[in-house]
């Protein structure tokens, strides 16, 4: 009974004059474009459209979806730049009002993480973080001493580890053997997720020594390991077809022949 009534409604729509049909289809298109959530509800009405128009409508819907997905990072970037510009405005105001006569410049730099933690670090540690150092160079010495530098992309846990690394690295630099031992000990204390977070923070702050060390540790973790191990370790899924994977292994047959014992992990 429900199907019969639906069919009769469709027939009535078809009987309507062309002008009304065009207006109706235009409205339907607008609804699809403006409100994606309503798309499923309107799916029954789309049957009134011609096949070509239906395909065009779907194509447009897909384009909108793609554009929305692309806009997400752009929006995030815009938000970030807005925050930065606001901060700069605030700083310029503070610079105008600050009274720094007679005050000695402190040897420490304040860093404020995205979760609100403020770190006081020595100037030489800040220098290791090239992003921070560039920020300091862009502002006058007086204001940089007084105001905490905001680090919007770095959490307190990561910054604490980075500061610890810089201090221990300097201490261990006396001999190459100690340095290597320190780097191995530092990396062994991190699980994979912590290492990933730290490497992203090091990349953002441009802390070259730490970035190099962490990259080497991740590379070391998958050196001489099987394909299955790499997938498990990094949490990625095999998205090859059976034929694609077989072809790849054939093309690089030398690497998959006589696999070393380590590779069986």
């Amino acid at each position: 009974m429900a199907k019969e009534s639906g069919s009769s409604k469709i027939e009535m729509l078809e009987i309507s004059n062309e002008a009304m049909a065009e207006a109706q289809s235009s409205k339907i298109e607008m609804l699809e474009i403006n409100n994606e959530a309503m798309a499923e509800a309107q799916s029954s009405k789309t049957v009134t459209m011609k096949p070509a128009e239906a395909e065009e409508s779907k194509t447009e819907t897909q384009k909108i979806t793609d554009e929305e997905s692309k806009n997400v990072p752009i929006a995030a970037t815009e938000e970030e730049s807005k925050k930065l510009s606001i901060t700069k405005v605030e700083e310029s105001k503070n610079a105008a009002t600050a009274t720094t006569e007679g005050e000695k410049e402190e040897a420490k730099v304040s860093l404020k993480t995205l979760d609100g933690v403020t770190f006081e670090v020595e100037a030489w540690i800040a220098k290791e973080m090239e992003t921070v150092q560039a920020y300091i160079d862009d502002t006058s010495a007086d204001t940089s001493a007084a105001i905490a530098i905001p680090l919007h992309n770095v959490a307190g846990r990561e910054l604490a580890r980075m500061v610890e690394y810089c201090k221990e690295h300097r201490r261990a630099s006396v001999s190459a053997g100690n340095l290597k031992e320190f780097e191995e000990r530092f990396a062994a204390a991190l699980n994979l997720y912590e290492m990933k977070d730290l490497i992203i923070a090091a990349n953002y702050l441009n802390t070259k020594k730490l970035l190099e060390s962490l990259s080497r540790c991740i590379a070391k973790a998958i050196k001489n390991k099987s394909v299955e191990f790499v997938r498990d370790y990094f949490g990625v899924t095999n998205d090859y077809t059976t034929e694609e994977e077989a072809q790849y292994r054939e093309t690089n047959a030398w690497a998959f022949r006589n696999v070393d014992e380590d590779s069986r992990n």
Binding site: I10, V47, T48, K50, K196, V236, N238, E245, Y248, W254
Partner: protein, 526 residues
């Protein structure tokens, strides 16, 4: 009416596919929605037990005329195949999306990690998923090619492919068979002689492998394996800084010379177990690699290569002024030629002539008091068969007199003792003329290694107070180049590990290690 997105995707693919086999059919607009609704209802049957579905299908077959049931079966099989393909396609798409969302590193950091892998591991990572495969295509991943393997399995085509992927980004190339290196680095550091014996074993393996396959070259490197360096207008070799070659049997003087002529920016050249002459190689280096800073050359036949000429030494000194590390092991090196080399290089800091023949030590006279040799920081003359006790004594006396001010590491150990003045067959185990103790007292900053067997065949007279703290020094010095990076050479690491057992505590370990090395040789023989 609600449907899950995977099903929607499958439906879309299925609809478009199912239309193609029936182009003559004129689909009505209402079919689109109808097909999707039916498919959704059909897929809900997946919760039904397979036996129930089987019975339902049998009843369906019985309800149609007997001549039509085969057609129904064919249609069922076709539908199942189409549905399976659509589902697999959607599954892969979902997997790709998952990888893109869950992998936290941006592409440039992923490429950085991949660039630190050896080339085989890079192939494994690339095979993990398409996201990694995309990152692994970047030339930077192939900047440091490490194609060394325990057994032969890399052929010329592989080298060509990898060099081509690197293009002008190529900076480092390691190639050949390095037997037991991976194992020895991790656990048991063998002596230099053990490395050589293992090389012989692998050479035999290669020969047997070649014979058994009746000349098949699927996993053999030939003399042309380095041709890609000079291909594509010479771009791959133009900026190559590091070239390490191990036990490539078919490499000869001409092909090595051609390869070196394509590498004008070479800083670090290491050759172990190649059947190439010392003179020819040094002539090629002298003619083509004017920027070289580190040269490590170990003969494939200890004590038999006597090809070096004084003229070649002069040319090398003149054309390669930046050399800071020189290792020539296992060659016949006469004192007069060695003297030309050691005095001539203005920046020479690291010298290693271990297992060389014909060196008596005469070249050391008056060396530390002039420009050429006074910059030496590391001097290794380990197991030099003709090294004379008298010459070593004179060296130590010169050190006491204030020469060799910068020397921090000296190794004059010899497994068979030092040569006597008159007859090198007569070996000295307990020296009464070498002021070893005095040197240790006068130069506490210097690490002096002097291990000699006693008449009973065990090691005694080991002197080293600071060995542990300075074990990495020779390697660091020898591997440092002007671009600031540290190259850790496999053979270098293996050999330096010997020195780690130079102290008194290490003496027993030294003996034990030797036993383990013997076991390793037996293992390789099997």
């Amino acid at each position: 009416m609600d449907s899950h997105s995977p099903v929607l995707t499958s439906t879309t693919s299925l609809s478009s596919m199912s239309k193609r086999p029936c182009p003559s059919q004129n689909p009505r607009a209402e079919n689109l929605g109808e097909v999707e609704r039916r498919l959704e209802a059909f897929l809900s049957l997946s919760d039904v037990a397979s036996l129930s579905l089987d019975l339902s299908f049998e009843r369906l077959l019985q309800s149609v005329p007997s001549d039509a049931d085969s057609d129904l079966i064919d249609r069922a099989l076709k539908m199942a195949s189409l549905l399976l393909d659509a589902a697999k396609h959607s599954s892969r798409k979902r997997a790709s999306n998952h990888n893109s969302l869950s992998w936290p590193l941006p592409p440039d950091l992923t490429i950085k990690v991949f660039s630190m892998l050896d080339t085989q591991s890079l192939c494994y990572a690339s095979a993990a998923c398409s996201l990694f495969s995309k990152c692994a295509k970047d030339p930077m991943c192939y900047a440091n090619l490490d194609l060394t393997t325990l057994v032969p399995k890399v052929n010329n085509a592989v080298v060509a492919t990898m060099v081509q992927r690197a293009g002008k980004a190529l900076r480092s190339l390691k190639l050949g068979v390095v037997p037991g290196a991976t194992t020895s680095l991790g656990s048991c550091p063998p002596f230099a002689c053990t490395i050589r014996n293992a090389i012989v074993e692998v050479s035999n393996f290669s020969w047997n492998d070649k014979r058994s396959r009746q000349g098949r070259e699927s996993s053999i490197l030939t003399r042309c394996c380095l041709s890609p360096l000079s291909g594509d207008g010479g771009a791959p070799g133009a900026l190559l800084r590091k070239l390490h070659l191990y036990n490539i049997e078919r490499m000869d003087n001409a092909s090595l010379g051609a390869a070196l002529s394509a590498c004008p920016s070479l800083l670090d050249l290491e050759i172990v177990g190649l059947h190439v002459e010392l003179r020819q190689t040094l002539m090629s280096v002298s003619a083509n690699c004017h920027l070289i800073e580190r040269l490590f050359f170990e003969s494939s036949k200890t004590g038999r290569d006597d090809s070096l000429k004084a003229q070649t030494c002069f040319e090398l000194v003149n054309n390669c002024p930046h050399l800071t590390s020189l290792s020539l092991r296992g060659f016949k090196l006469h004192d007069c030629k060695v003297r030309v080399l050691v005095k001539g290089f203005r920046k020479l800091k690291y010298v290693d002539f271990s297992t060389s023949y014909s060196i008596t030590g005469n070249f050391l006279r008056n060396l530390g008091s002039c420009n050429g040799g006074n910059l030496l920081e590391v001097l290794i003359l380990r197991d030099c068969m003709h090294l004379k006790e008298m010459e070593v004594a004179k060296l130590l006396t010169a050190i006491l007199a204030g020469d060799f001010k910068l020397l921090v590491h000296l190794d004059i150990s010899n497994r068979e003792g030092l040569a006597s003045e008159a007859d090198w067959y007569h070996r000295c185990y307990n020296s009464s003329i070498m002021p070893i103790k005095q040197v240790l007292e006068a130069r506490p900053d210097m690490c002096l290694v002097a291990e000699y067997p006693s008449a009973e065949g065990s090691y005694i007279e080991t002197f080293d107070a600071d060995m542990n703290s300075e074990i990495s020094l020779p390697s660091q010095l020898s591997s440092h180049t002007s671009d600031g990076s540290i190259f850790m050479s496999t053979s270098e690491s293996s050999y330096n590990s010997d020195q780690g057992s130079g102290n008194e505590d290490g003496q027993d370990a030294n003996y034990v290690i030797y036993e383990e090395s013997s076991d390793e040789i037996d293992f390789l023989s099997l």
